[in-house]
Symmetry: C2
Subunit: 503 residues, 2 copies
């Protein structure tokens, strides 16, 4: 298939939101389901999630966490125990009210078996887990309790977008309980650091660690910390959060323990989570007008072999060669895992196979025909280069260098994304600058980027930001020591806030 234009239409410049949907469709990662607000994660998207899960799970376990599983359904009364929490989630709860179906007189079925107390499908599990922890935690010896759960959650959303905002999503939620304040705070930051490391070292997605302003906190948290990423349209994506819950939930759920002195104290708790939203972030960080671009460490297939043949004799020879090559490659490791290599043996033309591999974001494509076998060389194409850029490599050089090539692609993706983030990160010195920077209209192209300024947090500033359709994304952790003056009020402050348009 000869192509003179890009594989994805519209391009990013033409229509970014539609480009995003088309990238997902072209890569066959996911699709909307007939169930309102819920998506189907198709095998290619799910395999990516499995790779993300495996790496995150290892990082959680390496820091002493264990997995467990708590009920999907939460009694309404549990949710009500923490006042801010229930307020935060009441408007988006799927409510189970009946436990069976019965025949309607006019035909069809209707709900029956009314429950005494309605059950909520978990939007998050602080309440049900808090209830269990109150039983499990009795003595300081029971602490810390370091538990993570991989689960689905439901938050009823009116406007949904695949991976970024869906009524049901998959995530992990860590819930820990500690004997003191300092240890719980340390845990909150430890997990934020793990999220940053994962985003940077596996997703090749640079993020900014910061504290959320009070109005953006998790309902019931004392402090919420976030990793914020910049998408290619310069909008911010909240990619993961870690919450210091202080004693809010332990007091609501009576998670108390006898300390070393024999006194009763409330535990200090944290919670932290990342979700399938990360996949949306990954797509929007790296993909281009030819489709998905996957960082090699997470790609379900890292190298795809594209056999070329015309005759049946050629076919046998080429496939045989491909199988041997695949074995040789699979004996090499990246991140402690055998290289993930596939051979596209389908009876469709090689050009079409190549374009499908491009659209699926596979890091390395290798074409192999009878002449290449004769010359003992391979045609290698990197996904981070132009789709038509080909390199001829001797077979053994490619095998021995495959891991290095993948590591280089991984590094290049991070370098490019970091440069983009830095280029679109602006320091704003005055209120006028703030206004000018953010007053570009949405339909004049991409968002203006991230603007950081000294800023206190008050209602008037929030209103101003709202009028420009931006929000306070976070107060970066690496900027909390230097003092200046709020560009809105002139008050002295050490607080710097990043504002941006966001998902």
């Amino acid at each position: 298939m000869s192509k003179s234009q890009n594989a994805i239409s519209p391009t990013r410049a033409e229509n970014y939101p539609e480009w995003y949907q088309q990238v997902i469709q072209a890569a066959d990662m996911a699709e909307n389901s007939p169930v309102r607000g819920c998506m189907v994660i198709k095998p290619w998207g799910y395999a990516l999630w499995e790779n993300m899960q495996r790496e995150l799970d290892q990082m959680f376990k390496a820091t002493g966490h264990v997995n467990a599983y708590f009920p999907l359904l939460i009694p309404l009364s549990f949710l009500e125990k923490e006042a801010e929490h229930v307020q935060g989630f009441a408007k988006e709860c799927a409510v189970v009210t009946h436990h069976r179906l019965e025949a309607k007189p006019e035909g069809g079925l209707q709900p029956a078996g009314l429950l005494e107390e309605p059950l909520i499908i978990r939007p998050t599990s602080e309440t049900i887990i808090g209830m269990q922890y109150s039983k499990w935690v009795q003595s300081y010896r029971d602490l810390p309790l370091l538990i993570n759960q991989w689960a689905n959650v439901v938050r009823w959303e009116m406007r949904t977008r695949m991976f970024l905002r869906t009524s049901e999503f998959l995530w992990q939620e860590g819930h820990t309980a500690h004997a003191d304040d300092a240890e719980a705070q340390e845990e909150t930051f430890r997990m934020l650091d793990i999220y940053e490391t994962f985003a940077r070292d596996y997703m090749a997605m640079p993020v900014i660690k910061g504290e959320k302003t009070p109005d953006e906190r998790f309902p019931g948290a004392q402090n919420t910390y976030t990793i914020e990423a910049m998408m290619q349209d310069k909008k911010a994506l909240q990619a993961g959060t870690s919450h210091f819950l202080a004693q809010h939930f332990s007091k609501s759920f009576n998670i108390s323990f006898t300390n070393k002195n024999g006194d009763i104290e409330y535990a200090w708790t944290t919670s932290w989570g990342v979700s399938t939203r990360l996949i949306g972030g990954l797509i929007m960080t790296h993909s281009d007008d030819d489709g998905l671009v996957l960082p090699p460490k997470l790609a379900p297939t890292q190298i795809i072999l594209l056999p070329i043949y015309r005759s049946e004799d050629d076919k046998a020879q080429v496939l045989n060669y491909c199988n041997e090559l695949a074995s040789a490659l699979r004996s090499q490791q990246l991140c402690g895992q055998s290289l993930r290599v596939s051979i596209d043996t389908r009876d469709i033309n090689t050009g079409e196979k190549g374009w499908q591999a491009v659209k699926k974001g596979i890091p390395l494509r290798v074409e192999i025909g009878p002449r290449d076998i004769q010359n003992n060389q391979l045609v290698v194409m990197r996904r981070d280069n132009s789709p038509r850029q080909k390199t001829l490599l001797p077979r053994d050089e490619f095998i021995n260098g495959a891991v290095d090539l993948l590591v280089d692609i991984q590094q290049q993706l991070l370098t490019k994304a970091s440069a983009f983030q830095q280029a679109n990160f602006h320091t704003l010195q005055t209120q006028a600058e703030f206004h000018d920077f953010f007053s570009q209209k949405d339909d004049e192209g991409p968002a203006p980027g991230f603007g950081i300024c000294y800023s206190v947090h008050n209602e008037a500033i929030q209103q101003l930001a709202k009028s420009l359709k931006v929000t306070a994304r976070c107060m970066p952790l690496d900027r909390q020591q230097i003092s200046g003056r709020c560009i809105f009020t002139g008050e002295p402050t050490t607080q710097q806030i990043i504002y941006a348009k966001s998902y």
Copy 2:
């Protein structure tokens, strides 16, 4: 802690159902939650499930299946499309009717935002997946479709028992679509074989493969095949099922395709699943009156090191020795995984640590004190022996033989369970024998075991079985060729049916 009695009270002989609950509690695997019919799977139980998942997942992938994820919530109208299916599940559906909460005038919250169409929490996903497949399958080239999903499902249960029957449970459900009858049947048996292999080779649980009688079929299936295991109380446990759905669901959901001749045909589908119920089966196959017994291949910890010391000097020396020993053991592999070794460093006495390890079912316990270090030997205890049976082994002999020891324990568990199953498997020649065999009352001790006989399947025989509180478990696949006469009606038949009391 010196003990002259068993660690679990009551014993199996005293009260089997209560023994089961106590084993789970003593091993800290799971507990009932305050949410009706739902359990909490605690870290020790969940780690076992993770090991089971990993091995099953590998077996699924090795046979060409990929994972995906479909919505939790199913519109009522989808469920209604397959008549038998909806009938089978209508009485146990959790129904979502509202999508938010609002304040009640008298305080508190109530469901609000009535949905136009009620949503069912999936009890199984044939309908929602069928709906998607009808979009994905267009041509014979799109087949076979070989997809598995790891998920939670909800079936409202009135009488629940941990792991065996809970309102919410975790499982995998495979859903495949094929171009013809034969290929779909082959898939149905392939997955049944995988379940048998997993049960036997990983769980050390022998199972009987068979076809379900018509009244025990999955709602909507053409044939249901099962693996049936015998618990230590001689009751049967349906441990996994594989369904040949023929064209029932493809016709209801219009999963059709253009075949090679250009004609439109309906696809042939299958579904197959195992759940956290397997954990209940594992517990009841191997555990004894001292608690859980885990097959080494699945044990979250395979070897636990129990350091013994009195002084701080001893402590440092012993812990150092344990760390080195653990490293040496972890460099060995079982089933392609590093040995899972932990060191119990808690400041409680060694006897208590030992009993906890017994109750958790850890295959090998190793005591290490200063004198053992001096003599370069270890005190090794196998979970499948009496808790007090100790073997002195030179350090290097133990390290080099650890994998063999674990393999031997795995084998012994299977041998013992197989012998038990065979000893309690009876051929019944006449209706009188059938009656005598099954007419023992429940409170006279354990169930009588499995009885197999030539039997046709009719209402009268079902009623007779019901009056004896037994059910047709399956028609074993390895007995379908030999002909005889039904012991109830005298009719000639090749059909043999296993009857048993069951979970």
